[in-house]
């Protein structure tokens, strides 16, 4: 970590769509600054030598070279570099040993939830090692299931707002519908964020939409279905 408490990061992901989704999450983190991005391993090494970073966030399966080899090569040039490796499928313990020895600080499977990845990144930015608790058997669906139960934590009014949000309705129209001010709806929304431990409004919408798909029973409301 630099003197200003900000950690610099280089992002190497071959698919633009995936990279941009990650960028959206990364720019929201106050203590991380993305100083370079690339879609190929050879490119990553070239950029790192002119714009050094403290964290290398790299995908294992790249189109030009093997991501793990690139990460190791980068570490021989910049020994302080902490590597977060995104792998195709969850790894086994003996495989994990190979990664750790290569200087990888955290391994995140592509199937992991965004929250998991951000947690791993936080550990890595402090120079720690992070090993996912569900190392060899993770499925994103599991974490969603758990969160369905979390809906019961909400009050009746909050559930109502959540339900409407799940149908992509605007704050304004929810306010009209419930006969309260927009400010009140915002307050409900903020409380939902806290209770469900969700970081932002966009994530909340994604999350609620997903529950609506998987557990329609929770969302049988008396308002018009879109």
């Amino acid at each position: 970590m630099g003197d200003d408490g900000i950690t610099t990061l280089h992002l190497t992901v071959s698919k633009l769509l995936f990279r941009e989704a990650l960028m959206l999450q990364l720019i929201k983190l106050p203590n991380i600054r993305v100083v370079g991005e690339s879609s190929h391993g050879a490119e990553a090494l070239r950029i790192l030598s002119v714009a050094p970073a403290e964290i290398l966030f790299i995908e294992e399966e790249l189109e030009d070279n093997d991501g793990l080899t690139i990460a190791e090569t980068a570490r021989t040039k910049f020994p302080w570099l902490n590597v977060l490796l995104v792998v195709e499928k969850p790894v086994r313990q003996s495989r994990m040993a190979v990664y750790l020895e290569s200087g990888v600080r955290a391994v995140v499977p592509k199937t992991a939830a965004m929250k998991e990845m951000l947690k791993a990144l936080t550990y890595v930015s402090y120079g720690q090692t992070y090993i996912d608790p569900d190392m060899h058997w993770k499925h994103p669906v599991d974490s969603e299931r758990k969160s369905v139960n979390a809906m019961s934590k909400l009050s009746e009014r909050e559930q109502e707002v959540a339900r409407q949000l799940a149908y992509n309705r605007s704050i304004k129209s929810i306010a009209l519908d419930l006969g309260v001010s927009q400010k009140t709806v915002h307050t409900y929304k903020d409380r939902i964020l806290i209770k469900l431990e969700i970081g932002g409004f966009t994530e909340l919408l994604v999350y609620l939409n997903r529950i609506r798909q998987t557990e329609p029973a929770l969302f049988r409301g008396d308002f018009g279905v879109v």
Binding site: H40, G41, A42, E43, E60, E61, L62, E63, D64, N65, D66, L68, T69, I70, E72, T73, T76, P79, W80, R92, Q93, S94, R95, M96, A97, V98, L100, E101, S102, G103, K119, Y123, G127, Q128, T129, Y130, I131, P133, M135, H136
Partner: protein
């Protein structure tokens, strides 16, 4: 080393049930957790011959009621193979100092910290202990080891230096008044800085930050911290993150400094010896691995192809061996992982060659298209295009080479360590092999010069007919 089918064994010596409750809840899926509520009970576990404990967790309150460090000094948990963690509630600098003095802990974890931290630590230690071992250097072992004292109070360091130099002749003493000066001294190639003793509170860069940098750049230097203030957080972090060897409280007593420095030098010597042994073993194992891999590829080729490729295979092996790649790690040589990677690698390489070979018909005569296809794939590793190569046709000779100032990349190859069977690596290696084989078959000349993770390539062929002009 821990295998998939048997989880690391964690023994927890606890006093209050809540401590062990949290461990069982959090860790039962990842570790085999055994618990002991008394030293006798814990010892019974440790005495069992068929039970190997990977990690011993001792809670602070049990340390207080038991026989001090007794548990942590049990022969079954001493040495490199078992990690020892103190789970603390409220730690004093004196306790940290004493724990380090007896070399009884590898980690100090607060009861309040995130269970993920503890879990990651145990995993890292049990899976990849070797990743943190120091590097061997070519430093002249005959020169006297150096103790480097870093403190901004120059009169104190001057006095200590004098005292230490009068009372012993085992090591010499250098002083620095800030981190920058300390790093400059570490940089000097004629000095063998064996031990670093740094104060925590200094203007600019503090002691912990210095320890961190030294650990990364000079892992062979044993690190000690000193402070007049009892900053326990700093000491705990230094133990956990920077692998602190000793903590010395101020004011310094020269006898204590000498004693601890000598212990540090001894510790370093044993670390280096161990490293050397591991390195020798690793190199020998690795040579075997490559030899076996060559044979297996030869055998597989004989099975799959009617033609005899063995001459070209040996040529290919020779050429790529000249490209310098990364060192093999230790864990990749671990039997299970290795067997799995090796057989997958050989099979995948042979089927990749086969796939490419049969898509390249006819191959009897020189073909520009085939050359282009193979080179294009090979150049993928360098993010280059075939059109960026130098292609010349002069005096009936065709010459294809990489631009002068641009070496081609080869970060890994089949005669080096392969930690993962990557499809790109296989495709590129197969193309290089076929390029070599076909150009030989077509009576062309292939010049290949290996460099560090790179190579120069030059393909030359006599083409008397007008055919070559299309390259012009």
């Amino acid at each position: 080393m821990v295998k998939d089918d048997n989880l690391p064994v964690v023994l927890c010596r606890y006093q209050s049930y809540t401590d062990v409750q949290f461990l069982l809840d959090e860790f039962h899926r990842h570790f085999t957790v055994i618990t002991a509520d008394s030293d006798e009970c814990a010892k019974r576990f440790l005495d069992q011959e068929n039970l190997f404990v990977n990690c011993l967790i001792v809670t602070q309150d049990s340390l207080a009621v038991g026989e001090g460090f007794g548990m942590l000094l049990h022969p079954a948990v001493c040495g490199e193979r078992c990690m020892k963690i103190l789970l603390y509630e409220d730690l004093s600098v004196e306790l940290v100092r004493d724990l380090l003095e007896h070399q009884v802990v590898d980690g100090l974890i607060s009861r309040q910290s995130d269970p993920d931290l503890l879990r990651s630590k145990i995993f890292q230690y049990t899976l990849a202990r070797n990743s943190e071992t120091p590097k061997l250097t070519d430093r002249d072992a005959a020169s006297k080891p150096v103790l480097l004292v870093v403190d901004d109070e120059t009169h104190a360091t001057k006095y200590l230096k004098k005292q230490l130099e009068i009372s012993q002749s085992e090591f010499s003493v250098y002083c620095a008044d800030c981190a920058r000066e300390a790093l400059a001294i570490l940089e000097r190639p004629e000095l063998d800085v064996a031990v670093l003793l740094t104060d925590q509170r200094m203007p600019d860069v503090n002691g912990r930050e210095l320890l961190k940098q030294v650990r990364k750049k000079y892992p062979n230097t044993v690190r000690m911290l000193t402070s007049a203030y009892g900053e326990v957080d700093v000491a705990v972090d230094a133990v956990n993150e920077e692998g602190l060897f000793r903590y010395i409280t101020k004011p310094w007593r020269s006898g204590e400094v000498i004693e601890k420095t000598l212990q540090a030098i001894q510790f370093r010597r044993s670390q280096m010896d161990r490293m050397e042994k591991t390195l020798i073993r690793k190199e020998a194992t690795f040579l075997n691995v490559i030899e076996r891999r060559k044979n297996r590829i030869h055998e597989a080729f004989e099975r799959v192809f009617p033609q005899d490729f063995s001459f070209y295979l040996d040529l290919f092996f020779d050429l790529v061996s000249s490209v310098e790649v990364l060192d093999p790690g230790v864990s990749v040589l671990d039997a299970d992982e290795l067997n799995e990677i090796e057989s997958e690698l050989v099979d995948a390489f042979v089927s990749e060659v086969r796939k490419q070979y049969y898509s390249l018909q006819p191959i009897q005569k020189y073909s520009e298209d085939i050359t282009r296809t193979l080179l294009q794939r090979l150049l993928g590793a360098s993010l280059l295009d075939f059109d960026e190569m130098n292609v010349e046709y002069k005096n009936n000779k065709l010459r294809i080479s990489n631009p002068k100032n641009l070496e081609l990349n080869m970060y890994a190859h089949l005669m080096g360590p392969v930690k993962r069977v990557s499809s790109q690596l296989l495709a590129q290696q197969a193309s290089l092999f076929l390029l070599l084989a076909l150009w030989n078959l077509w009576q062309g000349d292939v010049q290949f010069k290996g460099r560090c993770q790179a190579y120069d390539l030059c393909l030359i062929m006599d083409l008397p007919s007008a055919k070559g002009e299309c390259h012009g």
